[in-house]
Symmetry: C2
Subunit: 211 residues, 2 copies
DNA sequence: CGTTCTTTTGACCGATTGGTCAAATCGGAA
DNA sequence: TTCCGATTTGACCAATCGGTCAAAAGAACG
């Protein structure tokens, strides 16, 4: 147990005790709550520290700055957020593959609304810190999938649609229920919008995509 | 030239000279730019003042506080924002009425992206200042239109869809192109996403709604 | 017990922010 | 011109913010 902490950033191995890992998780959990509610600039270290049950200097002992917490969150969550997209199977039945993707995304809006709002805040304000990932990882993933969709359409197994705009539609329709939750609930009569949303989106995409 | 204007605002009479009105418009214009980029908390009076070409105390001579500017903006823009909805004609041809509404909303995303982002910022962060309007004006408008749509469906002139979720779909799909503009452009190959978006959304809603 | 490393904290700092105020300046009517 | 209200501004203030630091408090181990 000599080299306790060499370089604790990404890239290198980051040897951490179980306590350190637990505290960092606490901090990221608190950061997720606060950043998703208030955006980067609206969040304060005091609130994050309070939410995590730590003092402000103690929080800064584990993460060197507010930015470090925010960027750690963005980095960690991007993979999770993109996962449903990667799970689409090019060998599957096209319409059902996309409908399943829509349902997975909708489930994420229901189960992880903070994550959705974190990205929404970031992107609405110009994506100042996640732009590289958008133009890199995301774009590559999207381009790959666009080709798959084009193949499906060429084979007559999917109604002709612009693949990119199809993906935008999936994102906006599903994430709307997390990001604009308060508006949805203010306008809707029911308490839980998701049962209705699931049926609606299934219908919508089925009609759009069935050849 | 005493009583220039009687009561153009809500509440009390607010007599204003032409100069006052012009400066206030400058300030609201600058405020729209800054608030839509940074959200309420991210915006600073200095930036708004700079954008408006005024000193900070001078700005505060026309509006008593940062909140006052922000709320004036929200209040003034809500009507504009809701206008395309009110323009739906219950006596019209159902599918075409809704398609026209979609196109109007998409045009607004293209022509007034700042306004769209202003609301997006507000709502993503819990709509702390516009909630009453959501539960009042907006909800009433939506409920009225929901009945019209239900009537259309009952008459077999529109495919059966949940009216509320239909409206959510219109909002999310159209506003996405304004609010998540940077993401759309980062992923897309074209420069201007709107021509493609218009075709796509027309197809999408036509297939969804045609009985 | 003492020693050494890790963790926690109170006190503090400089920068920024929203907002105030008194004084200066402007602009038009007489 | 003079006068008077409307407008503009530099100087300033209190609160808040992100972040530092030295010292205290634990923990681990012999």
């Amino acid at each position: 147990m000599v080299e306790k902490s060499a370089s604790l950033q990404e890239g290198d191995a980051a040897p951490q005790t179980r306590i350190q890992r637990a505290k960092r998780r606490q901090i990221l959990e608190a950061g997720l709550t606060v950043f998703s509610e208030a955006g980067f600039r609206g969040a304060t270290l005091d609130r994050i520290a309070g939410e995590a049950g730590l003092s402000k200097p103690n929080l800064l002992y584990y993460y060197p700055s507010k930015e470090a917490i925010y960027e750690a969150l963005l980095r960690d969550l991007l993979a999770t957020w993109l996962h449903p997209l990667q799970a689409i199977d090019p060998k599957g039945e096209p319409v059902e593959e996309i409908l399943a993707y829509v349902e997975r995304k909708l489930q994420m809006s229901r189960d992880f609304p903070r994550e959705s709002r974190l990205f929404a805040n970031e992107i609405v304000q110009g994506a100042p810190r996640i732009m590289p990932a958008l133009e890199g990882e995301l774009r590559d993933l999207v381009d790959t999938l666009a080709k798959v969709i084009k193949g499906w359409i060429a084979a007559g197994r999917l109604a002709p649609v612009d693949p990119h705009h199809l993906l935008f539609s999936v994102w906006s329709l599903t994430q709307h229920y997390a990001d604009f939750d308060v508006q949805v609930r203010a306008v809707l009569n029911e308490d839980d919008p998701f049962p209705g949303a699931e049926i609606h989106l299934d219908t919508l995409f089925r009609r759009l995509l069935t050849p």
